[in-house]
Amino acid sequence: MLEGRILVSAIMLIAFAAAVGLAFTYAPEARFLPLVIGIPGLLFSIIQLIKELRERPEPVVTSEEQRREGRMFAWAVLYGVFELFLGLPLFEGLVFQWIFG
């Protein structure tokens, strides 16, 4: 199974690769800074991923901890979906906007 620390490095590598690739499609003035930042970011991500792949595997996470993590994520996502589809933010937003101005 893919370890979490490798997954994080891989996510960052993919994010920078995609951002640099996209930046090349922009006008020269618009892509200058994204490339100045994105290329070092990509290089650092490659270094980090290689470092993580070479390191010893991390201690196995207990199934109890994994279960709790899964439950917390599910709760957060379900809450987001609940808010999204039932329009709750609108209600809460109106109330709090009224209170705080």
């Binding site: 979490g4 620390r5 997954l7 994080v8 996510i11 960052m12 994010a15 920078f16 951002a19 996209l22 930046a23 922009y26 006008a27 003035e29 618009a30 800074l33 994204p34 930042i37 994105g38 070092p40 970011g41 650092f44 991500s45 270094i47 980090q48 470092k51 390191e55 010893r56 901890e65 709790r68 993590e69 439950r71 917390m72 994520f73 709760w75 957060a76 996502v77 809450y79 987001g80 808010e83 999204l84 933010p89 809460e92 937003g93 709090f96 906007q97 705080f100 101005g101």
Partner: protein
């Protein structure tokens, strides 16, 4: 010196019921966030930012500043009563504070802590006010060229906030900078990284960034761990047994004990003055955050004592030194973000984000056009500290219950406020999805020891750097690097990176890697 502005702003603050009311709300909130292990000042700022969005600049800034000013005062409560420091600076207080509680002197320790943090906060604010005339000519000489380099300097501080891994810190910081480029390009007006979504044209909001990176991961982590705090073996050893001590510990607090502690502060007046000035000056230096300041003040207290052997065993001077240090640095740490746009710590990065969101642009205009805001913030620090000591002294015998509150009860409320805050900013429902996705990434960062503060610094400084670079090139052309102040700043950038690399090499040599 703007004496007229200084006193007129104080008059305005004291005669505006709305501002006084908001400060009176902000102070208990700050104490609550500080005293509940697992929450803390950063999360407090993050959660309150959405509610200042519609306030005017002055009101919003005063509200946040007053809340943040007393967080460390609240943080001393669990440190003293249960030996659980909520953050790094509070660990210095716990050393002697908890030992005093074990000796049955909890009230005296709390009184000393409240008194010292109030006097420290007041002296720190005075230091900031008195340093303005000295800084004014320097700040007014800065042009967009220097502000671009200052933004780069701020980004190099990412390294100092990166913990053990420079590479991880740089990746997260650069990722934050990339996220700052989301939206319309200021020079061509063409959309960048918007994926055809019009709601992204305005860019990634600082609110969404801070809530995703701090509020959501902290709450998920609290839910997973089921407890609010983790004491390292080292800290536990320092605390000499901590809360697992088999001896019964009396946490009874009386008014007499609290006033005894306050009298101790008066007896150590020179120590308080020395610690305040030392730490207020250190607070100005970006990168040397609260931890260093509190431990430096504690170290100075031990060094200058005639009985250094008593420290760690319940010496009241230890509590006074550490608390003065924690609170005196607050005012000094406001200086870099307000005048140079460079946050010196993750808390100040969030504060800077809030200032920018309120439309407060750091730089020379803070001294020319918005000096009233600067003085209002200084007075807000003063008033908040006075409010805090009155409130804490009055509620002293009962305040200890705050420190034993289970932070995990707060998870649903904090998450609701976080998601609500994201929605309130512009009324964009898509921000809810963004905060959940980025919050998950933030949790992965936290879970695998990736620093998160550099992301916020990147998001904030990215926009400042890009704007300043364009203005600098427009004003001076590419030769702006050769201006004298620019050269000094370039030297500082190189020195900052060099110092970090030298320090990590030395640490690696001293401590063999576990990998």
């Amino acid at each position: 010196m703007h004496f007229d502005v200084a006193f007129s702003t104080l008059f305005d603050l004291l005669t505006t019921p709305r501002l006084l009311f908001l400060m009176a709300i902000a102070v208990p909130m700050g104490v609550f966030f500080g005293s509940t292990p697992g929450l803390g000042g950063k999360l407090g700022l993050v959660l309150l930012i959405p509610f200042v969005y519609n306030m005017d600049q002055l009101t919003g800034a005063v509200f946040l500043c007053a809340m943040h000013a007393v967080v460390h005062t609240g943080g001393s409560i669990p440190s003293i009563l249960i030996g659980v420091p909520g953050d790094g600076p509070a660990a210095a207080t716990a050393l002697d504070g908890y030992a005093m509680t074990k000796k049955g002197e909890a009230g005296r320790a709390l009184g000393a802590s409240f008194g010292a943090s109030t006097v420290g906060g007041l002296l720190g604010a005075m230091f900031l006010g008195l340093s303005l005339p000295i800084l004014e000519p320097i700040i007014l000489n800065f042009s967009p060229a220097e502000f671009f380099l200052l933004a780069i300097l701020g980004i190099t501080f990412i390294a100092t906030l990166s913990g053990d891994s420079f590479v991880k810190g740089m990746i997260v910081g650069l990722f934050g900078l990339m996220c700052a480029f989301i939206g319309l390009d200021p020079s061509t007006g063409s959309p960048r990284f918007t994926f055809g979504q019009i709601w992204l044209w305005d860019g990634l909001s600082v609110i969404v960034a801070v809530l995703s990176m701090f509020a959501v991961p902290e709450m998920i982590s609290l839910g997973v761990k089921g407890r609010a705090y983790d004491i390292s073996a080292e800290t536990a050893a320092k605390l000499q047994g901590s809360s697992s001590s088999p001896e019964p510990v009396s946490r009874k607090v009386s008014y007499a004990q609290i006033f005894h502690g306050m009298r101790d502060v008066a007896q150590h007046k020179w120590l308080v003055l020395r610690c305040s000035l030392l730490v207020a000056a250190i607070g100005v230096i970006p990168g040397l955050g609260g931890d260093a300041a509190a431990w430096m003040a504690y170290g100075h207290t031990v060094q200058s004592s005639k009985h250094p052997e008593r420290f760690g065993k319940g010496e009241v001077a230890g509590v006074i030194g550490a608390e003065t240090g924690s609170c005196a640095k607050e005012a000094g740490s406001l200086l870099p973000p307000l005048f140079f746009g460079v946050p010196g710590s993750s808390g100040m990065a969030i504060m800077l984000g809030a200032f920018l969101m309120l439309g407060i642009q750091p730089g020379p205009t803070m001294l020319t056009e918005h000096v009233n805001i600067v003085w209002s913030l200084i007075w807000a620090l003063v008033i908040a500290n006075i409010f805090a000591v009155i409130m804490l002294t009055a509620t002293g015998p009962w305040i200890g219950r705050l420190g034993t509150m289970k932070a995990s009860f707060l998870i649903p409320y904090v998450l609701v406020f976080a998601l609500l805050g994201c929605y309130l900013y512009g009324g964009i429902w898509q921000n809810l999805i963004l905060v959940l996705v980025m919050g998950s990434l933030g949790y992965l960062f936290k879970r695998h020891d990736w620093p998160r503060a550099p992301f916020i610094i990147g998001v904030i400084l990215g926009k400042i750097a890009e704007d300043s670079l364009q203005k600098a090139i427009g004003l001076f052309g590419a030769s702006f690097f050769w201006r004298p102040i620019s050269l000094i700043l370039i030297a500082m950038i190189l020195a900052s990176v060099g110092f970090y690399l030298w320090r990590s090499r030395r640490t690696n040599k001293a401590v063999p890697s576990h990998a």
